[in-house]
């Protein structure tokens, strides 16, 4: 299945240094590891446990995690990372005619099948003719997940890559809270709907 453009490579990696979703082994004793989820834009793998992995013909990639000894382990995110690409951030901005450089998500909402999403960021800067300009307020972007990733035409390299994280990712009944990581560098997406929400 084509999930994104060819520059999109996504892994689950519980060995990422400084990742909030890093650990030595999961709650079934499976060693922490790195596995491909999207390679060259194609969907290639799932997060798995010892129970679910055989159903897709794979060994567990060690993502069965419990909040504490008193909770039942669940298959859930470790560090899910967008791998670095080849661009320098300054080249990415210089190569953009008309866009917005959005920085740091502060609000995220997505439907129950993970298609329709809307994110808000802390800051954004206008990009005009390859130069970063004025500061913009209340930046938001929205789309349908696979369409969005297919519009990705550039990912910055390791010099721009950072491991971000969420200390309170919620899942399960009874509810369990877990630390998860999300590594990424800046990336460019073409023709994305922005500003929705704050207008009329």
């Amino acid at each position: 299945m084509r999930y994104g453009s060819e520059v999109v490579n996504i892994v689950t990696d519980a060995t990422t240094p400084r990742g909030l979703g890093s650990f030595g082994f999961d709650d079934e004793g499976v060693e922490a590891q790195r596995a491909d989820l999207v390679r060259g834009g194609r969907f290639v793998g799932y997060l798995t446990s010892r129970e679910t992995a055989p159903q897709v013909g794979l060994p567990s990639n060690g993502t069965m995690r419990a909040e504490s000894w008193a909770h039942i382990p669940l298959v859930r995110m470790t560090n899910v990372n967008l791998e670095p690409g080849t661009w320098k951030l300054e080249d990415l901005i210089a190569g953009t005619e008309d866009g917005i450089h959005m920085i740091t998500n502060r609000s995220w909402s997505i439907d129950d099948k993970r298609f329709n999403f809307q994110f808000g960021t802390e800051v954004g800067y206008e990009i005009k003719r390859g130069k970063r300009g004025r500061l913009l307020k209340n930046c938001t972007y929205t789309g349908i997940t696979p369409e969005f990733w297919n519009k990705c035409d550039a990912v910055c390299d390791a010099s721009d890559w950072e491991i971000w994280g969420t200390p309170n990712c919620g899942k399960g009944q009874p509810s369990q809270t877990m630390r998860t990581g999300q590594g990424a560098s800046s990336a460019r997406f073409r023709n994305i709907q922005v500003g929705v929400g704050v207008g009329s």
Binding site: W108, N116, N138, Q173
Partner: protein, 467 residues
């Protein structure tokens, strides 16, 4: 303060005949002992004990049945203006000694806090019946019986049911070095169920003190009906529509007001939608919102975790901003009195309303639908997040039963829609208020929102999902 360790009964024996996980005298003894170990100017102790059981089902069969029994003692100590907080899940005398030492060590390491309030004085509390022995007595078998009626009905129609039936019994006790002691036993029961077809889903979520009042089979039937009626949902263009929001959908929106401005800390931090607008009209004149622990639907407690008696607070009255809730810290800072709405430590958001009640109207849900020439019926909103806090602007998705209303009737299922809308605007544009309010309890801080269905004009949808 000093005191010899008290005789301690094993906690299983501290359970009352009605199933309360910690009897009042046991709680009093534990808190007295813990406070007696603290050599500081002030000390406060919060003891929570709970039994929580949950039967979860998916693919029309039960796959998980869990019971958690736990207790936690939190100790807040103050030496001068320095405060330390520590907690433990062990209640033997050695653990209490270690707890007191840790809290004191934390206090000595902490910077001075100029706004640190003294503990609350002893008080008299209203009696609020919050405990139903039949809920505490719920068993895996009784929960399985109830769940089976729903899964059988779903399977019989070729549908797939998933969800959980949970019950809990708990006791909360608060004491401090000024001699205050407060104690409240409670029960809680919840049934939540999603029923899916190959193209649609339906959902219910009901919260009660009494497990018998969940009416699980009837609720399951509602989820089944919603899944069947919303089969093969059609897309509709985003835009502004008249909507009929069922109580759960309204609760999701109104709950945001709590953290966005109904607690005094939001005002102190300058981020409140109420800031500087007290006495002004902030929403529609039909909107009246109170925090009222005495409302029997609202899962209220007679006191907060500081031991302050919980007051009824008028928050929005006929659209006019009237008040916010306080704990002892915000009250001291703003020269007010605590309304008894402290949150448990670390209480980073300050005080919050716990029993929000939006005044109901006269219309049934059927009336609201029948009076709508063209509109959208929303079962629930999901993954809702703040876009602009000062405007109370929220985004989220519809889910599990979104329907087109035409000519006062439900015409067909719709694909799920994304909304971006201000909660205050929703209340301002509310044309119809339902008669039958429902409570929704939110996991986050255990607060409850009691709201009716609403018919709202001009509600803004900004996107659509492919399903």
């Amino acid at each position: 303060m000093s005191g010899a360790p008290l005789h301690r009964t094993p906690l299983e024996q501290a359970r009352t005949a009605e199933g309360v996980p910690l009897a009042i005298e046991e709680a009093r003894g534990l808190l007295r002992e813990a406070l007696g170990m603290v050599g500081a100017d002030h000390a406060e102790a919060i003891l929570e004990a709970h039994d929580h059981s949950l039967t979860r089902f998916a693919n029309n069969e039960i796959h998980q049945n869990v019971t958690t029994r736990d207790h936690m003692l939190t100790l807040k100590v103050a030496t001068g203006k320095r405060q330390g907080v520590a907690s433990t899940h062990r209640l033997d005398s050695t653990a209490l000694r270690q707890l007191a030492d840790r809290a004191l060590a934390m206090a000595r390491l902490s910077p001075e806090d100029p706004d640190l309030p003294e503990p609350a004085p002893p008080a008299e509390y209203t009696t609020l019946p919050g405990y139903v022995a039949e809920t505490a007595a719920s068993t895996p078998e009784s929960r399985a019986d109830a769940v089976e009626r729903v899964t059988r009905a779903a399977a019989g129609r070729g549908l797939n049911a998933a969800g959980a039936l949970s019950t809990s019994a708990s006791a909360l006790a608060v004491a401090n070095s000024r001699g205050l002691f407060a104690y409240q036993p409670e029960t809680y029961a919840n049934f939540t169920c999603t029923v899916r077809s190959d193209t649609s889903s339906g959902w219910v979520d009901r919260h009660r003190r009494d497990v018998r009042a969940l009416d699980v089979e009837a609720q399951g039937a509602i989820a089944i009906e919603k899944a069947e009626r919303s089969r093969a949902p059609q897309p509709i263009d985003p835009g502004r529509y008249t909507v009929v929001l069922e109580p759960n959908a309204v609760a999701e929106l109104v709950a945001f007001l709590a953290s966005l401005g109904l607690g005094a800390q939001a005002e102190i931090e300058g981020r409140s939608f109420m800031g500087g607008r007290m006495g002004e009209r902030i929403t529609g004149e039909r909107a009246t919102l109170v925090d009222d622990a005495s409302d029997p639907r609202a899962f209220g407690r007679p006191f907060d975790v500081e031991g302050t008696p919980r007051q009824r607070v008028s928050l929005i009255e006929r659209g006019i901003a009237r008040g916010v809730v306080h704990d002892r810290r915000t009250a001291r800072k703003l020269g007010a009195s605590s309304t008894g709405h402290a949150c448990p430590p670390p209480a980073t958001e300050g005080p919050l309303p716990f029993s929000l009640v939006l005044e109901s109207g006269e219309a049934t849900l059927a009336d609201l639908i029948a009076s709508t020439e063209r509109g959208i019926l929303v079962t629930r909103f999901w993954y809702n997040r703040v876009v602009d806090p000062r405007k109370t602007l929220i985004t989220g998705m519809t889910r599990d039963g979104t329907f087109l209303i035409e000519g006062g009737r439900i015409a067909r299922g719709l694909r799920n829609l994304r909304f971006n809308e201000s909660v205050l605007e929703v209340l301002a544009h509310a044309e119809g208020f339902g008669r039958d309010a429902e409570p929704t309890v939110f996991d986050y801080v255990g607060n409850c929102v009691v709201v009716p269905a609403l018919k709202v004009a001009n509600f803004r949808f900004t996107g659509v999902s492919p399903f």
